[in-house]
């Protein structure tokens, strides 16, 4: 696919009703969106459904793209909210909390990389309990609101706030 048009131009064309531009945009972004959604939802068919909803929403809402910021970030914002909607419809599916990584020893490469990027934040985050880390992942890393995170994790908003507070205290102590 050697289409030279930028994402921004494609979104504008989609807003004008071009389904060809929608296809180019879709094929350019389907890969990483599928993989990123797949890290939060183990059900492949649900991920595909969410990706489908996302681009139907893009088709309908391309005119609302502000033109500021990265189109990719805009796409992810739509996709993660569609995922939350899907969880609401299908409570059986659950947000993936990555406990399997808890005991894994990171490669030296990772340590260096993260050391450069975050100081000791990486280690501190990894030492949080899975419950606290899920809340941090949803609110800080995925950028969700307390209410959205609560839906995603099947918790009450109050619990999300409490856990976020505890996570913050723990991190502050570790990093002090």
């Amino acid at each position: 696919m050697s289409d030279e048009r930028t994402d921004r131009e494609l979104v504008a064309l989609v807003a004008d009703g071009s389904s060809v531009a929608l296809e180019t945009l879709y094929r350019r972004h389907a890969g990483w969106l599928t993989i990123r959604l797949g890290r939060r939802c183990a059900d492949r068919s649900l991920v595909d459904e969410v990706l489908q909803d996302t681009f139907v929403a893009v088709w309908k809402g391309a005119g609302r793209f502000s033109g500021k910021g990265e189109p990719a970030a805009w796409l992810w914002g739509i996709a993660i909210r569609r995922l939350i909607d899907a969880f609401r419809r299908r409570p059986a599916a659950t947000y993936l909390i990555e406990e399997r990584d808890l005991d894994r020893v990171e490669s030296a490469e990772d340590r260096v990389l993260l050391g450069v990027e975050h100081g000791d934040l990486a280690g501190a985050l990894d030492r949080l309990s899975p419950e606290l880390r899920a809340v941090v992942q949803a609110t800080v890393l995925d950028g969700l609101t307390t209410r959205e995170a609560a839906h995603l994790l099947g918790l009450r908003p109050g619990t999300v706030k409490t856990r976020m507070m505890r996570a913050r205290q723990t991190l502050r102590k570790e990093l002090a």
């Binding site: 990123r36 489908q52 990486a122």
Partner: protein, 272 residues
């Protein structure tokens, strides 16, 4: 500038989901800003194609969504739901038109007896115009598709007509409840309306639907509308006779449709 990029190992591990959460978060943050690294991430082409097929199907049938989904839920097959939902008279513009016409007619009816005649003239014509509009070559974007659909055009015609008639007769009947004066006036037009639509459908093999619908509208307008011009209405004076004639037409046309349904389908397909 940013020199942090995904190498092959990291790309592979992120795709497989074996990267630790914090590093994964870094990757994801970076992906939002780096098109090159995004293009390194792939899923199976068949999966990408399958999802695209679903997207384009939903994108290309946007307006029919709700009605079509409702019909499918009621047990209609996909094709039937699509064809019925694409009936032009089921669109918002047509329904709005029906409501506006009825409201105006009702408003005039409150003012004078001639207004009642206007209402009674208009109400049965609405379903006829609806049928003409829905099945003539003018209004129907699905004309060709319907003509080439792999099942009985008669069944489709009957199905879509029921929807057209329902979408006009129901609001007209509701509006008739607000007519001032004699009760029978508000219901006496129902039977003629049904008779005329049925006749139009029965004749569909010989006369184009929009021609017969418009001719019958003319006949009805003369019968019922004469009071507006001449102060005398055949409709108001001969209500009993009109009811009986309508009933006879309804029965004959209905029977003709049922007995000749296979011939009609064939004729419709050829004339389309």
């Amino acid at each position: 500038m940013n020199t942090w990029h995904l190498d092959d190992t990291l790309t592979q591990r992120y795709t497989d989901g074996t990267v630790a959460p914090v590093l994964a978060a870094s990757v994801e943050q970076h992906l939002l800003a780096c098109a090159d690294c995004r293009s390194r991430l792939h899923v199976e082409p068949t999966r990408v194609d399958a999802v695209w097929a679903e997207i384009i199907e939903r994108v290309e049938a946007p307006h029919l969504g709700q009605l079509e989904r409702g019909l499918r839920r009621l047990g209609a097959s996909n094709g039937t739901a699509r064809l019925v939902a694409a009936t032009p008279t089921l669109r918002g513009a047509w329904l709005t038109g029906v409501v506006v016409v009825l409201t105006l007619a009702l408003y005039t009816a409150q003012a004078s007896p001639r207004g009642i005649a206007l209402f009674v003239t208009l109400a049965p014509i609405l379903p006829l115009i609806g049928v003409a509009y829905a099945f003539g070559p003018y209004g129907d974007p699905m004309h060709n598709m319907a003509a080439s659909a792999p099942y009985s055009s008669m069944r489709l015609l009957a199905l879509r007509t029921s929807f057209v008639v329902a979408s006009t007769l129901l609001p007209a009947s509701a509006a008739a409840l607000f007519l001032p004066g004699a009760e029978w006036v508000s219901v006496a037009w129902l039977l003629p309306a049904l008779a005329m639509t049925t006749l139009t459908i029965a004749a569909a093999g010989h006369v184009p639907v929009h021609v017969s619908a418009l001719s019958l509208s003319g006949v009805w307008a003369t019968l019922a509308g004469s009071q507006i011009v001449f102060g005398r209405s055949v409709y108001l004076e001969q209500t009993g006779a009109i009811q009986i004639v309508s009933l006879a037409i309804l029965a004959l046309a209905g029977a003709s449709i049922v007995t000749r349904r296979n011939d009609l389908s064939e004729q419709l397909r050829r004339s389309a």
